[in-house]
Protein backbone atom coordinates (compact mmCIF):
# COMPACT_ATOMS: atom_id res chain seq x y z
CA UNK A 1 0.00 0.00 0.00
CA UNK A 2 1.58 3.26 -1.09
CA UNK A 3 0.71 6.90 -0.50
CA UNK A 4 -1.17 7.15 -3.79
CA UNK A 5 -3.39 4.21 -2.82
CA UNK A 6 -4.13 5.75 0.57
CA UNK A 7 -5.06 9.10 -0.99
CA UNK A 8 -7.12 7.36 -3.66
CA UNK A 9 -8.98 5.33 -1.02
CA UNK A 10 -9.64 8.45 1.02
CA UNK A 11 -11.12 10.24 -2.00
CA UNK A 12 -13.28 7.20 -2.78
CA UNK A 13 -14.49 7.03 0.82
CA UNK A 14 -15.52 10.68 0.75
CA UNK A 15 -17.25 10.20 -2.62
CA UNK A 16 -19.33 7.29 -1.31
CA UNK A 17 -20.35 9.20 1.84
CA UNK A 18 -21.26 12.21 -0.31
CA UNK A 19 -23.44 10.01 -2.56
CA UNK A 20 -25.34 8.66 0.47
CA UNK A 21 -25.85 12.21 1.74
CA UNK A 22 -26.84 13.74 -1.59
CA UNK A 23 -29.43 11.04 -2.27
CA UNK A 24 -30.99 11.70 1.13
CA UNK A 25 -30.61 8.16 2.46
CA UNK A 26 -30.66 7.26 6.13
CA UNK A 27 -33.93 8.68 7.34
CA UNK A 28 -36.07 6.94 9.90
CA UNK A 29 -38.98 7.93 12.03
CA UNK A 30 -40.76 6.00 14.75
CA UNK A 31 -44.37 5.74 13.61
CA UNK A 32 -45.76 5.61 17.12
CA UNK A 33 -45.50 4.21 20.65
CA UNK A 34 -46.07 0.63 19.51
CA UNK A 35 -43.04 0.74 17.22
CA UNK A 36 -40.99 2.17 20.08
CA UNK A 37 -42.13 -0.67 22.38
CA UNK A 38 -41.32 -3.25 19.73
CA UNK A 39 -37.81 -1.82 19.28
CA UNK A 40 -37.14 -1.74 23.03
CA UNK A 41 -38.32 -5.31 23.56
CA UNK A 42 -36.30 -6.63 20.65
CA UNK A 43 -33.09 -4.93 21.75
CA UNK A 44 -33.23 -5.25 25.54
CA UNK A 45 -33.67 -8.91 26.41
CA UNK A 46 -36.11 -9.61 29.19
CA UNK A 47 -37.75 -6.22 28.88
CA UNK A 48 -41.54 -6.10 28.50
CA UNK A 49 -42.89 -2.73 27.45
CA UNK A 50 -46.12 -1.28 28.82
CA UNK A 51 -46.25 2.17 27.23
CA UNK A 52 -44.02 4.64 25.42
CA UNK A 53 -43.76 8.18 24.21
CA UNK A 54 -42.19 9.14 20.89
CA UNK A 55 -40.09 12.29 21.02
CA UNK A 56 -38.54 14.76 18.62
CA UNK A 57 -40.39 13.82 15.42
CA UNK A 58 -39.55 10.17 15.88
CA UNK A 59 -35.87 10.66 16.65
CA UNK A 60 -36.08 8.99 20.01
CA UNK A 61 -38.42 7.55 22.56
CA UNK A 62 -38.88 6.62 26.19
CA UNK A 63 -40.35 3.21 26.88
CA UNK A 64 -41.68 2.07 30.26
CA UNK A 65 -41.55 -1.58 31.29
CA UNK A 66 -43.74 -3.81 33.44
CA UNK A 67 -41.17 -3.91 36.24
CA UNK A 68 -41.10 -0.14 36.65
CA UNK A 69 -38.00 -0.06 34.43
CA UNK A 70 -37.26 2.23 31.47
CA UNK A 71 -35.55 2.02 28.11
CA UNK A 72 -34.43 5.00 26.08
CA UNK A 73 -34.20 4.84 22.28
CA UNK A 74 -32.16 7.12 20.09
CA UNK A 75 -31.94 7.20 16.36
CA UNK A 76 -28.60 6.23 14.87
CA UNK A 77 -28.75 6.55 11.10
CA UNK A 78 -31.72 4.53 9.86
CA UNK A 79 -32.16 2.50 13.03
CA UNK A 80 -32.55 2.88 16.77
CA UNK A 81 -30.19 1.97 19.55
CA UNK A 82 -31.55 1.17 22.99
CA UNK A 83 -30.29 1.40 26.56
CA UNK A 84 -31.95 0.25 29.71
CA UNK A 85 -31.80 3.09 32.22
CA UNK A 86 -30.40 2.08 35.58
CA UNK A 87 -31.72 3.93 38.64
CA UNK A 88 -31.06 6.48 39.90
CA UNK A 89 -31.80 7.94 36.46
CA UNK A 90 -30.21 11.31 35.96
CA UNK A 91 -32.34 13.79 34.03
CA UNK A 92 -32.23 17.52 33.43
CA UNK A 93 -34.82 19.65 31.69
CA UNK A 94 -33.42 22.17 29.27
CA UNK A 95 -36.71 23.93 28.74
CA UNK A 96 -40.41 23.13 28.97
CA UNK A 97 -40.32 20.26 26.52
CA UNK A 98 -36.69 19.10 26.25
CA UNK A 99 -35.22 16.53 28.61
CA UNK A 100 -31.60 15.36 28.79
CA UNK A 101 -31.21 11.79 29.95
CA UNK A 102 -27.88 10.24 30.88
CA UNK A 103 -27.71 6.74 29.41
CA UNK A 104 -24.99 5.72 31.85
CA UNK A 105 -22.81 4.68 28.91
CA UNK A 106 -20.16 7.17 27.86
CA UNK A 107 -20.27 6.40 24.15
CA UNK A 108 -24.02 5.94 23.88
CA UNK A 109 -24.01 9.31 25.51
CA UNK A 110 -26.68 11.67 26.73
CA UNK A 111 -30.01 11.48 24.93
CA UNK A 112 -31.93 14.68 24.35
CA UNK A 113 -35.65 14.10 24.01
CA UNK A 114 -38.09 16.71 22.74
CA UNK A 115 -41.53 15.96 24.16
CA UNK A 116 -44.76 16.95 22.41
CA UNK A 117 -45.64 19.32 25.29
CA UNK A 118 -44.57 20.45 28.74
CA UNK A 119 -47.14 18.29 30.54
CA UNK A 120 -45.86 15.04 29.05
CA UNK A 121 -42.27 16.08 29.75
CA UNK A 122 -43.10 16.68 33.43
CA UNK A 123 -45.06 13.45 33.75
CA UNK A 124 -42.32 11.27 32.25
CA UNK A 125 -39.59 13.03 34.19
CA UNK A 126 -41.45 12.28 37.40
CA UNK A 127 -41.89 8.64 36.43
CA UNK A 128 -38.16 8.34 35.71
CA UNK A 129 -37.17 9.94 38.97
CA UNK A 130 -39.40 7.60 40.93
CA UNK A 131 -38.27 4.47 39.09
CA UNK A 132 -37.12 1.60 41.23
Amino acid sequence: MNLLQIIGSLVAVLAVIAAVKLLGLGRAQLAGPSEACENAEAMVHGFTATDAIVCGEGNGALVAGDKGDFVVLKRLGSYYAARKLLPPISTAERDDTVLHIESGDRYFGRVNLTFPDAASRTAWQQRLEHSA
Binding site: M1, A12, V13, V16, A19, G26, H45, G77, A81, G109
Partner: protein, 300 residues
Protein backbone atom coordinates in the same frame (compact mmCIF):
# COMPACT_ATOMS: atom_id res chain seq x y z
CA UNK B 1 7.85 -10.21 1.49
CA UNK B 2 5.37 -12.05 -0.66
CA UNK B 3 6.27 -12.38 -4.33
CA UNK B 4 2.58 -12.21 -5.23
CA UNK B 5 0.49 -9.03 -5.13
CA UNK B 6 -2.34 -8.63 -2.65
CA UNK B 7 -5.50 -9.26 -4.71
CA UNK B 8 -7.55 -7.05 -2.37
CA UNK B 9 -5.63 -3.97 -3.60
CA UNK B 10 -6.93 -4.63 -7.11
CA UNK B 11 -10.48 -5.20 -5.92
CA UNK B 12 -10.86 -1.85 -4.15
CA UNK B 13 -11.98 0.11 -7.25
CA UNK B 14 -14.65 -2.55 -7.87
CA UNK B 15 -15.75 -2.31 -4.22
CA UNK B 16 -16.25 1.45 -4.62
CA UNK B 17 -18.11 1.08 -7.92
CA UNK B 18 -20.41 -1.62 -6.52
CA UNK B 19 -21.21 0.50 -3.45
CA UNK B 20 -22.19 3.39 -5.72
CA UNK B 21 -24.40 1.05 -7.76
CA UNK B 22 -26.06 -0.26 -4.60
CA UNK B 23 -26.63 3.29 -3.30
CA UNK B 24 -28.23 4.26 -6.59
CA UNK B 25 -30.35 1.10 -6.56
CA UNK B 26 -31.70 1.50 -3.01
CA UNK B 27 -32.53 5.12 -3.80
CA UNK B 28 -34.46 4.02 -6.89
CA UNK B 29 -36.31 1.35 -4.91
CA UNK B 30 -36.95 3.92 -2.15
CA UNK B 31 -35.23 1.70 0.43
CA UNK B 32 -33.97 4.80 2.20
CA UNK B 33 -33.03 2.91 5.37
CA UNK B 34 -30.41 0.78 3.62
CA UNK B 35 -27.65 3.39 3.96
CA UNK B 36 -27.05 6.36 6.22
CA UNK B 37 -24.15 8.81 5.95
CA UNK B 38 -22.85 8.40 9.53
CA UNK B 39 -22.92 4.63 9.38
CA UNK B 40 -21.25 4.50 5.97
CA UNK B 41 -18.54 6.87 7.15
CA UNK B 42 -17.86 4.69 10.20
CA UNK B 43 -17.73 1.53 8.09
CA UNK B 44 -15.40 2.99 5.49
CA UNK B 45 -13.01 4.57 7.98
CA UNK B 46 -12.90 1.29 9.88
CA UNK B 47 -12.05 -0.38 6.58
CA UNK B 48 -9.30 2.11 5.86
CA UNK B 49 -7.88 1.74 9.37
CA UNK B 50 -7.99 -2.02 9.05
CA UNK B 51 -5.92 -1.89 5.88
CA UNK B 52 -3.31 0.23 7.62
CA UNK B 53 -3.26 -2.11 10.65
CA UNK B 54 -2.91 -5.07 8.28
CA UNK B 55 0.06 -3.51 6.49
CA UNK B 56 1.76 -2.78 9.83
CA UNK B 57 1.50 -6.38 11.05
CA UNK B 58 1.92 -8.11 7.67
CA UNK B 59 5.72 -8.38 7.93
CA UNK B 60 5.56 -10.17 11.28
CA UNK B 61 2.77 -12.52 10.23
CA UNK B 62 4.61 -13.35 7.00
CA UNK B 63 7.84 -14.05 8.87
CA UNK B 64 5.99 -16.35 11.27
CA UNK B 65 4.28 -18.14 8.38
CA UNK B 66 7.64 -18.63 6.64
CA UNK B 67 9.16 -20.06 9.81
CA UNK B 68 6.25 -22.48 10.37
CA UNK B 69 6.52 -23.48 6.69
CA UNK B 70 10.05 -24.78 7.33
CA UNK B 71 8.39 -27.68 9.21
CA UNK B 72 6.12 -28.46 6.25
CA UNK B 73 5.02 -32.05 5.62
CA UNK B 74 4.87 -31.71 1.84
CA UNK B 75 6.85 -29.75 -0.69
CA UNK B 76 4.33 -27.72 -2.66
CA UNK B 77 5.35 -25.26 -5.38
CA UNK B 78 3.76 -22.00 -6.49
CA UNK B 79 3.83 -22.48 -10.24
CA UNK B 80 0.24 -22.46 -11.46
CA UNK B 81 0.78 -24.80 -14.43
CA UNK B 82 2.20 -27.71 -12.44
CA UNK B 83 0.53 -26.94 -9.10
CA UNK B 84 -2.97 -25.80 -10.19
CA UNK B 85 -4.62 -28.52 -8.09
CA UNK B 86 -2.69 -27.35 -5.01
CA UNK B 87 -4.05 -23.83 -5.54
CA UNK B 88 -7.62 -25.16 -5.60
CA UNK B 89 -6.98 -27.38 -2.59
CA UNK B 90 -5.38 -24.49 -0.75
CA UNK B 91 -8.43 -22.29 -1.42
CA UNK B 92 -10.80 -24.96 -0.08
CA UNK B 93 -8.73 -25.80 3.02
CA UNK B 94 -8.18 -22.11 3.71
CA UNK B 95 -11.94 -21.62 3.61
CA UNK B 96 -12.33 -24.44 6.16
CA UNK B 97 -9.70 -22.73 8.33
CA UNK B 98 -11.74 -19.54 7.94
CA UNK B 99 -14.85 -21.36 9.16
CA UNK B 100 -13.00 -22.58 12.28
CA UNK B 101 -11.57 -19.12 12.89
CA UNK B 102 -14.94 -17.43 12.40
CA UNK B 103 -16.77 -19.85 14.67
CA UNK B 104 -14.15 -19.31 17.38
CA UNK B 105 -14.42 -15.57 16.82
CA UNK B 106 -18.05 -15.78 17.92
CA UNK B 107 -17.55 -18.21 20.79
CA UNK B 108 -14.33 -17.03 22.48
CA UNK B 109 -14.37 -13.46 23.78
CA UNK B 110 -10.68 -12.83 23.05
CA UNK B 111 -11.24 -13.49 19.34
CA UNK B 112 -14.65 -11.79 19.45
CA UNK B 113 -13.10 -8.56 20.74
CA UNK B 114 -11.39 -8.26 17.37
CA UNK B 115 -14.23 -9.59 15.19
CA UNK B 116 -17.04 -7.61 16.86
CA UNK B 117 -16.09 -4.60 14.70
CA UNK B 118 -17.47 -6.39 11.68
CA UNK B 119 -20.86 -6.81 13.38
CA UNK B 120 -21.08 -3.38 14.98
CA UNK B 121 -23.37 -1.80 12.36
CA UNK B 122 -27.16 -1.97 12.62
CA UNK B 123 -27.25 -1.36 8.86
CA UNK B 124 -26.49 -4.03 6.29
CA UNK B 125 -25.06 -3.01 2.95
CA UNK B 126 -21.87 -3.38 0.94
CA UNK B 127 -20.07 -0.83 3.11
CA UNK B 128 -20.66 -3.13 6.10
CA UNK B 129 -18.34 -5.64 4.43
CA UNK B 130 -15.49 -3.16 4.81
CA UNK B 131 -16.00 -2.86 8.58
CA UNK B 132 -12.94 -4.93 9.30
CA UNK B 133 -10.89 -5.41 12.41
CA UNK B 134 -8.02 -3.22 13.55
CA UNK B 135 -6.88 -5.67 16.19
CA UNK B 136 -6.60 -8.95 14.31
CA UNK B 137 -2.92 -9.25 15.18
CA UNK B 138 -3.57 -8.73 18.89
CA UNK B 139 -6.28 -11.39 18.82
CA UNK B 140 -3.74 -13.86 17.27
CA UNK B 141 -6.30 -14.79 14.63
CA UNK B 142 -3.42 -15.84 12.35
CA UNK B 143 -2.96 -19.09 14.32
CA UNK B 144 -5.96 -20.55 12.49
CA UNK B 145 -4.03 -20.49 9.21
CA UNK B 146 -0.87 -22.10 10.58
CA UNK B 147 -1.99 -25.68 9.74
CA UNK B 148 -1.90 -24.74 6.05
CA UNK B 149 1.78 -23.85 6.27
CA UNK B 150 2.45 -27.07 8.17
CA UNK B 151 0.81 -29.06 5.39
CA UNK B 152 3.19 -27.34 3.02
CA UNK B 153 1.22 -24.67 1.18
CA UNK B 154 3.65 -21.79 0.55
CA UNK B 155 2.82 -18.62 2.54
CA UNK B 156 2.49 -16.60 -0.69
CA UNK B 157 -0.15 -19.03 -1.94
CA UNK B 158 -2.08 -19.03 1.34
CA UNK B 159 -2.14 -15.24 1.64
CA UNK B 160 -3.21 -14.92 -1.99
CA UNK B 161 -6.17 -17.29 -1.64
CA UNK B 162 -7.04 -15.67 1.70
CA UNK B 163 -7.28 -12.38 -0.21
CA UNK B 164 -9.59 -13.99 -2.76
CA UNK B 165 -11.71 -15.30 0.10
CA UNK B 166 -12.05 -11.80 1.54
CA UNK B 167 -12.98 -10.41 -1.88
CA UNK B 168 -15.68 -13.06 -2.28
CA UNK B 169 -17.21 -12.04 1.02
CA UNK B 170 -17.70 -8.44 -0.10
CA UNK B 171 -20.70 -8.86 -2.39
CA UNK B 172 -22.73 -10.97 0.05
CA UNK B 173 -23.22 -7.95 2.34
CA UNK B 174 -26.36 -6.69 0.66
CA UNK B 175 -30.13 -6.69 0.92
CA UNK B 176 -30.37 -5.81 -2.77
CA UNK B 177 -30.05 -9.47 -3.79
CA UNK B 178 -32.80 -11.74 -2.52
CA UNK B 179 -32.21 -15.42 -3.35
CA UNK B 180 -30.00 -17.05 -5.96
CA UNK B 181 -30.57 -20.34 -7.82
CA UNK B 182 -31.04 -23.32 -5.50
CA UNK B 183 -27.82 -25.09 -6.47
CA UNK B 184 -25.83 -21.92 -5.72
CA UNK B 185 -27.51 -21.37 -2.33
CA UNK B 186 -26.79 -25.03 -1.52
CA UNK B 187 -23.02 -24.80 -1.97
CA UNK B 188 -21.97 -21.17 -1.76
CA UNK B 189 -22.25 -18.48 0.88
CA UNK B 190 -24.80 -15.94 -0.39
CA UNK B 191 -26.37 -12.63 0.66
CA UNK B 192 -29.29 -14.59 2.14
CA UNK B 193 -27.06 -16.86 4.25
CA UNK B 194 -24.87 -14.00 5.42
CA UNK B 195 -27.82 -11.76 6.37
CA UNK B 196 -28.64 -14.53 8.84
CA UNK B 197 -25.09 -14.35 10.18
CA UNK B 198 -25.37 -10.60 10.83
CA UNK B 199 -28.81 -10.87 12.47
CA UNK B 200 -29.44 -10.51 16.19
CA UNK B 201 -32.78 -12.35 16.12
CA UNK B 202 -32.63 -15.28 18.57
CA UNK B 203 -33.32 -17.74 15.76
CA UNK B 204 -30.25 -16.56 13.86
CA UNK B 205 -27.64 -16.01 16.58
CA UNK B 206 -24.29 -17.75 15.99
CA UNK B 207 -25.24 -19.27 12.66
CA UNK B 208 -23.75 -19.37 9.14
CA UNK B 209 -20.05 -18.84 9.83
CA UNK B 210 -19.04 -19.69 6.26
CA UNK B 211 -16.61 -17.63 4.21
CA UNK B 212 -17.10 -18.90 0.66
CA UNK B 213 -18.65 -22.39 0.94
CA UNK B 214 -21.81 -22.70 3.06
CA UNK B 215 -21.26 -26.48 3.09
CA UNK B 216 -19.13 -26.17 6.25
CA UNK B 217 -22.14 -24.88 8.19
CA UNK B 218 -24.32 -27.64 6.79
CA UNK B 219 -21.66 -30.22 7.74
CA UNK B 220 -21.02 -28.97 11.26
CA UNK B 221 -24.58 -28.12 12.27
CA UNK B 222 -24.43 -24.34 12.30
CA UNK B 223 -26.58 -23.65 9.26
CA UNK B 224 -29.82 -21.69 9.49
CA UNK B 225 -31.80 -20.65 6.40
CA UNK B 226 -33.29 -17.18 6.12
CA UNK B 227 -37.05 -17.07 6.61
CA UNK B 228 -39.41 -14.47 5.21
CA UNK B 229 -41.53 -14.66 8.36
CA UNK B 230 -39.02 -12.73 10.45
CA UNK B 231 -37.71 -9.21 9.92
CA UNK B 232 -33.97 -9.18 10.49
CA UNK B 233 -32.42 -6.88 13.07
CA UNK B 234 -28.76 -6.42 12.25
CA UNK B 235 -25.96 -5.58 14.64
CA UNK B 236 -25.05 -6.73 18.12
CA UNK B 237 -27.03 -8.12 21.03
CA UNK B 238 -25.86 -4.95 22.81
CA UNK B 239 -25.53 -2.31 20.12
CA UNK B 240 -22.84 0.25 20.80
CA UNK B 241 -25.18 3.11 19.87
CA UNK B 242 -22.39 5.26 18.50
CA UNK B 243 -20.70 6.11 15.21
CA UNK B 244 -17.38 6.69 16.97
CA UNK B 245 -14.78 4.88 14.84
CA UNK B 246 -12.23 4.36 17.61
CA UNK B 247 -14.83 3.09 20.06
CA UNK B 248 -16.17 0.63 17.48
CA UNK B 249 -12.62 -0.66 17.01
CA UNK B 250 -11.71 -1.18 20.66
CA UNK B 251 -14.85 -1.28 22.84
CA UNK B 252 -14.83 -5.01 23.53
CA UNK B 253 -11.14 -4.93 24.50
CA UNK B 254 -11.97 -2.19 26.99
CA UNK B 255 -14.83 -4.38 28.22
CA UNK B 256 -12.48 -7.33 28.74
CA UNK B 257 -10.01 -5.23 30.74
CA UNK B 258 -12.83 -3.84 32.89
CA UNK B 259 -14.36 -7.25 33.58
CA UNK B 260 -11.06 -8.97 34.32
CA UNK B 261 -10.11 -6.13 36.67
CA UNK B 262 -13.36 -6.35 38.63
CA UNK B 263 -13.86 -10.13 38.65
CA UNK B 264 -12.88 -12.41 41.55
CA UNK B 265 -9.58 -14.18 40.85
CA UNK B 266 -11.00 -17.57 39.99
CA UNK B 267 -13.27 -16.06 37.34
CA UNK B 268 -10.82 -13.64 35.70
CA UNK B 269 -9.66 -15.96 32.91
CA UNK B 270 -13.21 -16.90 31.99
CA UNK B 271 -13.93 -13.29 31.02
CA UNK B 272 -11.26 -13.76 28.34
CA UNK B 273 -11.88 -17.27 27.05
CA UNK B 274 -15.61 -17.88 27.54
CA UNK B 275 -18.28 -16.87 25.03
CA UNK B 276 -19.21 -13.18 24.60
CA UNK B 277 -21.70 -12.10 27.27
CA UNK B 278 -20.59 -14.74 29.77
CA UNK B 279 -20.55 -13.51 33.38
CA UNK B 280 -19.68 -15.35 36.59
CA UNK B 281 -22.97 -14.41 38.23
CA UNK B 282 -25.07 -15.09 35.14
CA UNK B 283 -26.25 -11.48 35.09
CA UNK B 284 -25.67 -11.02 31.35
CA UNK B 285 -27.07 -12.47 28.18
CA UNK B 286 -25.16 -14.81 25.90
CA UNK B 287 -26.45 -16.07 22.56
CA UNK B 288 -27.23 -19.37 24.31
CA UNK B 289 -29.39 -17.80 27.03
CA UNK B 290 -31.20 -15.62 24.48
CA UNK B 291 -31.88 -18.61 22.25
CA UNK B 292 -33.05 -20.72 25.23
CA UNK B 293 -35.46 -17.99 26.34
CA UNK B 294 -36.78 -17.70 22.80
CA UNK B 295 -37.30 -21.46 22.49
CA UNK B 296 -39.04 -21.50 25.87
CA UNK B 297 -41.36 -18.70 24.76
CA UNK B 298 -42.15 -20.61 21.56
CA UNK B 299 -43.27 -23.65 23.57
CA UNK B 300 -45.84 -21.70 25.58
Amino acid sequence: MSELPNPVDFAVPAFVALMLVEIWLVRRRKQTRAYSPGDTATSLFLGLGSTVAGVLSAGLVYALATWVHTFALFDIGLDLRSWWWAWILCFVIDDLAYYVFHRSAHRVRWFWASHVIHHSSQHYNLSTALRQTWTGFLSIAFIFRLPLFLIGFPPAMVFFVAGLNLIYQFWIHTEAIDRLPRWFEAVMNTPSHHRVHHATNARYLDRNYAGVFIVWDRMFGTFEPETEAETIRYGLVNNIGSFNVLWAAVHEWVGIVRDVWRAPWRHKLNYVIREPGWSHDGSRDTSDTIRAAWLEKGKQ
